[in-house]
């Protein structure tokens, strides 16, 4: 019984760290290319795909990271 707890917890921690690193990289990339991104998105038209795509990718990486984050801290839903 006791062995299963740390292995389960370490799985969560590993997942959290992986997605956390991915999230940080994505944000770093966005700020490095800040001006370029803004210049393109400000033109509108079909460049609307840029913010939409960024939003989906970021939400996937960061959403998974935050879910793991609270789980690792032991903050879980009732039942």
């Amino acid at each position: 019984m006791e062995n299963s707890v740390p292995s389960d917890a370490s799985k969560h921690v590993t997942k959290m760290v992986l997605y956390g690193l991915a999230t940080v990289s994505l944000y770093a990339l966005m700020f490095v290319s800040e001006e370029r991104i803004l210049t393109l998105t400000a033109q509108g038209g079909w460049y609307f795909m840029i913010p939409i795509t960024i939003a989906f990718i970021f939400s996937f990486a960061h959403g998974t990271f935050t879910a793991q984050f609270w789980d690792v801290l032991g903050i879980k839903a009732k039942k």
Binding site: T23, Y27, M30, F31, E34, I37, L38, T39, T41, A42, Q43, G44, G45, Y47, F48, I50, P51, I52, I54, A55, F56, F58, S59, H62, G63, T66, A67, F69, W70, I75, K76, A77, K78, K79
Partner: protein, 646 residues
Amino acid sequence: MDNLSNFIHLDLITILYLFTVGFIGGLVSGFIGSGGAFVLTPAMMSLGVPGIVAVASNICHKFPKALVGAMKRAKYGQVDVKLGIVLGVSAEAGVLYGAHVQEGIKKTFGDAGSNLYVSVAFVIVLAIVGGYVLRDAWSIYKAGTSDHEEKVGKLARRVQAINIPGTMVYFPSLKTKISILFTIPIGFATGMLAATIAVGGFIGVPAMHYVMGAPSLMASATELVIAFVMGVGGTIKYAWSGLVDVRLAMIILAGSLFGIQLGAIGTTYVKPYLIKVVMGVIMMLVLLSRGIVIPVYLSDLGMITHMDPGLAKLLKNVSFSVMIIALATGAFIVLSALIKGMRAHRTEKETAAAIGVFTGHDVAAAGTQLDPIGRLERILLVTDGSEYSTGAVQEAINLAKRCGGRLRALSVIAADSEYETLGAQLLKKEQDNALAHLRELQATAVAAGVECEIQLRQGAEIYQEIVSEADDQHMDVIVMGRRGRSGLLRTMMGSTTARVIGHTRCSVFVVPRAAHMEGRNTLLAVDGSRYSDAAAAATANIARQCNTPVTVVSVSSEEASPMRQKEVEGNVARIVRLLSQTGIAARSRLMKGRPDLAIVEAARAEGSDLIVMGSHGRTGLDRMLIGSVSERVIGHTNCAVLVVKA
């Protein structure tokens, strides 16, 4: 670079500020479902972001956040995907129209016009919807139904009853069919508002709840689906015009995804009414914040006389401060509800695991009460010498006799320092009378074979004196009447009793004047909490001494899920089994409805002369908002009530 004029420069402070605002917005959003964007749009505007860019960036952060939140809450079974998609599609049309209106205003009147339009929309919508939500939360508190899932309101019942052939669609959250002719305008209005102020949920959630009849938890969760559907559409529309600042959107998203997960977890620990309280309180504060700044925009547009720049700056600062207060208030209520809920849940689980230790056999075999839970050995009798204390005096002596307990009789004189100085003679007379009464009572108790000490105290707050005495003397139970006369002022003993119950750590036995325990039946009211288990232990003590049959009653909500119902039944059966094992004649009675009324009714039907129940011992805001079932039972019943503290 001219086309970048809509985008502000970001420094570390701005980023941290947006992240924090995003977190709190997400927290509120995960909790009440409506975007939390009402704090995000103005927060961005306060940094100098033009209104339309703030709205556009807000919508862009909103749809991925809504997606994550909806998926999280779908796991808890709170999302009606069908209703969300149906409303979301018509909301999409509303978004497109709303965005079109917004752009038109910006072209015609510039940024000041756009800002004014957004602020006025905020004030009007928040005043109407926020007022309604707060009024509803207040009426729930007054009706004392906060422990239940809400009932379908009058308007929703009427809407559900209208049958328009060919347009009826079944929705799981409503558990009935409803015409899509109602969902289309609601969706459209939600979308239009979302495109205007990025908080369509302020129409969507109340409409789903009050107009369609969806439970508020499901309405707030389903709103996340609508938010996703229309968020994608809204983002495309604004991004097509090049108005989305994706940096702002993603920074807010970074904070809000932390928040939305936490807010969604929070909903699993709270009662539905709290969602309305949080929503209403925040709406009113944001309304105030936006209202304050309207004259500034009017001045910019030349619609009123030109405002002094110093005054305009002051108004903007005040507006900003109120916004911070709104943020902090929302976060505080949600976080404290979450922490409290998690703590209570953990304690309940621990107690449930430990309750197997309790057995009534121990009580009988030892001839005394070894179990500290529900022990009734040290009895504090509170008396004021009035007729309202007669029942309490009689039952306290009987209880001490039956349980082999020791009695301590207490009288409290209400007197503050001013009274002590000005009315020394009056006070002396009052003390003499009280002491004489206590000595008389002591003689009666001794004659009945019960050891009795007496104590006279005085203080400004009667309940505090009673609670302190019980604490100092390590009492197990306080016995008191329901109304009484205390010193100079005749007060409602009801309020003193309620305060004692709220603040003391020991059990409280409330005996109305005419109550007399003959051992006919004891009604044990349980709700599955650790407090109920303590009440069961106390009932076992009394029932064995008095050889009284026990009826274990549990009251569940009309709309309780089958799982919850099964849980209730299992809990009642467990307590009946525990009592039966100690040789007590125990049976169960399962009821539905309002707990206080159902318990009083059950006591009447069973011919009970004693009701035993656990108390959560709420105080402060919590008690003010949801009241106490035990207090209401005490107020309504004519028989004695033992409120057991765990």
